[in-house]
């Protein structure tokens, strides 16, 4: 029997359940109906059992059937099983079928997802952490500008996490609409303030009217001054600081770029006054 499942949390969990019941079944995955149809036409398969393509599933129940009710997180911020799968699926190098087989191979031991004991376990734990890290870095270093009453920012990530970031930014600023532009999609949060759904996506061309300020404004200047005021020169630790404010951060916003430059080069105490007075 061939089982086709959707590459989302529902689909993966339903496929796990099916694989436990029918260990000999073959798996096929697709991101949506169109991709599934394309794959079926390409391979000439006609009869498949589809999972996760219609409606939503009670994932909590399936997770408790698969792994029991025991919660296991190695780090405080590690997500639960559903969150783990959702993160892994966003990773550019994740393979949904391999993930399903790994989840089933854990045989109910939820710790194996997080412990990294096996090679495959380590691979998917790292995928999860990779996506999680990219998301947190975006939350750290992206700097939205308030333009035309909308808090807007352009982001880039290999892991399709613009929607996650948009939700986070909308939660942080519940009183203004937020727009996160990722490639040709614009995610809109708190859309109810501008007559849209609370959370939705629109083509980025529609959000094109938003002006992105590349020039420094008063807030940037204030930030530079504040940033410089917080440094304890005697404690400069370039290696450590470079790890925490990585090179990657510089590409996420102008402010983060200037901060990264100061991490690299230090903060000069000299001004023009030093030259003229001397």
């Amino acid at each position: 029997m061939i089982v086709a499942f959707r590459e989302n949390v529902d689909g993966v969990l339903l496929a796990c359940k099916e694989l436990i019941e029918n260990p000999d079944c073959d798996l096929l995955s697709a991101k949506g109906r169109a991709e599934l149809k394309q794959k079926m036409e390409f391979t000439g398969i006609e009869d498949v059992k589809t999972l996760g393509f219609r409606g939503s599933t009670d994932t909590t129940k399936i997770v408790s059937n698969l792994f029991g009710n025991k919660r296991s997180r190695m780090f405080q911020r590690d997500p639960d099983v559903e969150g783990y799968i959702a993160m892994v699926l966003r990773h550019r190098s994740s393979r949904a079928i391999e993930l399903v087989r790994f989840l089933v191979s854990c045989q109910g031991n939820v710790e194996l997802l997080y412990s990294g004991k096996s090679n495959i376990g380590k691979k998917y734990y790292n995928c999860m952490r990779d996506v999680s890290r990219s998301y947190h870095r975006m939350c750290m270093f992206a700097r939205p500008y308030l333009a035309n009453g909308v808090l807007s920012v352009k982001v880039e990530s290999p892991h399709q996490i613009g929607d996650m970031f948009c939700r986070w930014l909308a939660r942080k600023n519940p009183d203004v609409p937020v727009s996160v532009i990722e490639g040709d999609i614009a995610w809109i949060g708190n859309g109810n303030h501008v007559g849209l759904e609370h959370f939705t996506k629109v083509p980025s061309s529609l959000a094109g009217s938003l002006e992105f300020s590349e020039a420094c404004d008063e807030v940037d200047d204030m930030w530079d001054m504040y940033y410089d005021s917080q440094i304890i020169q005697k404690r400069r630790n370039k290696t450590h600081a470079k790890q925490l404010q990585p090179k990657l951060s510089a590409s996420m916003s102008k402010m983060a770029e200037r901060d990264r430059y100061k991490v690299e080069r230090g903060i000069s105490n000299y001004t023009l006054d030093n030259f003229t007075s001397g």
Binding site: S72, M74, F75, E111, L112, Y114, S115, G116, K117, K122, H136, C139, M140, F141, A142, R143, P144, Y145, L146, L151, V153, L169, K172, N173, P174, D175, V176, E218, V219, D221, M222, W223, M225, Y226, Y227, D228, S229, Q230, I231, I232, Q233, K234, R235, R236, N237, K238, H240, A241, L244, Q245, M255, A256, D259, K262, V263, G266, I267
Partner: protein
């Protein structure tokens, strides 16, 4: 002075304050410390006479003040730009503790009434009245008072305007009770309420590390202190302590390490007694490694049968690594340990996997096990 100049002066006054609140860091300085909050003093024109403080009354320095409205405006600007998660507000004493707390409360209230959803951490002055602490707890996510040192005798030496027992310890007790009440009221989905915290100035008076560690343990027990902060004393010109020696930075680091051993590793101040020298000071070495070296009879521990507590005594294994080991047994190789985040270079001499352990000179000489 322009707004920017006043802002710079007052932000510099808080650069030694740590404001870790386990949320999103938005930048890291060249010293590797994170920036999560907009940290500022309301004023540095302080009427206190703390002997180590650059803002002490009578010291000739540039004095500046920010109005509550200005602090609110700056906080919003940084917050909207996603440059901070909120505000850390401290101050010099404006007249008395009550008046200062009223001003701090005004800032927090203004922000909340304007719909500010960010984090507010208020460092209150010793002697702040209870009714104001209660009102601050309605708006702020975290609030606390600095203990600065370990005893009332030491305290009277460096902070002559305040009393250790009534102005500090009593406030720590009140903040503990308020935090517990607010946490109960907020429930799981409500506003975050940070744990009780305090800060010690290390090296301003001649207190030993034994005293500091003992005080931290006592505070954890009595006032549910979650995390102590340490600030190395650095003599400030034109203060009574200007001729004292600065406290070395490594002392602050070793004290932080021991505080983690108390907080996360289930150790007690008595356990740490072995690593202190005759005068009660920590040497410049990792206290956990020293502790393991002082107790060779406890090692090696078998990773497949040791309890979590035993694993936590092994250098290179932290709480996360210990959890992973306990839940992933059997462990068959060092590689598996390494994958679980154990620092093998430190842990190797102290662990045993399936009867195999690292050899040592004693084994070659045929001495010991």
């Amino acid at each position: 002075m322009t707004l920017m100049e006043r802002m710079r002066v007052l932000s510099e006054g808080t650069k030694y304050d740590s404001c870790n609140q386990s949320a999103v860091c938005h930048a890291f300085g060249p010293d590797g410390r994170c920036i999560q909050l907009y940290k500022t003093l309301m004023t540095n024109a302080c009427c206190g006479e703390c002997t180590y403080c650059p803002n002490r009354c009578g010291r000739d320095s540039v004095k500046a003040t920010l109005s509550p409205e200005e602090i609110v405006k700056i906080t919003w600007s940084f917050y909207r730009r996603n440059a901070v998660e909120g505000l850390f507000l401290s101050s010099g004493v404006i007249g008395d503790a009550e008046k200062t707390a009223e001003q701090q409360l005004e800032v927090a209230r203004l922000l909340r009434t304007q719909g500010f959803a960010g984090y507010i951490h208020i460092r209150v002055m010793p002697g702040t009245p209870k009714y104001l602490l209660e009102e601050i707890s309605d708006c702020a996510n975290k609030f606390g008072v600095n203990a600065e040192t370990t005893s009332s005798i030491n305290y009277s030496e460096i902070c002559p305007n305040f009393h250790y027992n009534s102005d500090v310890l009593q406030r720590l007790k009140w903040t503990r009770d308020l935090i517990n009440r607010k946490r109960r009221e907020a429930g799981k989905r409500g506003r975050i309420i940070g744990a009780n915290d305090t800060q010690f100035v290390v090296g301003a008076v001649q207190e030993s590390d034994r005293e500091i560690i003992g005080t931290v343990e006592k505070f954890m027990d009595r006032y549910e202190l979650r995390r102590p902060y340490f600030m190395s004393f650095d003599p400030v010109p034109f203060t009574p302590l200007e001729n004292n020696d600065p406290s070395p930075l490594w002392r602050e680091i070793r004290l932080y390490q021991t505080s983690y051993l108390l907080k996360d590793y289930g150790m007690t101040a008595n356990d740490l007694d072995n690593v202190l020298d005759d005068n009660g000071f920590l040497p410049d070495n990792d206290p956990k490694m020293l502790l393991a070296s002082c107790n060779p009879e406890l090692f090696p521990v078998d990773v497949n049968s040791a309890t979590r507590e035993d694993l936590l005594r092994v250098p290179g294994i932290g709480p996360v690594g210990a959890n992973r080991i306990v839940s992933s047994r059997p462990i068959n190789s060092e590689k598996e340990l390494s994958r679980m985040g154990v620092v093998l270079s430190r842990a190797r001499p102290f662990v045993e996997i399936n009867g195999k352990r690292q050899t040592n000179l004693f084994s070659f000489a045929g001495v010991g096990a």
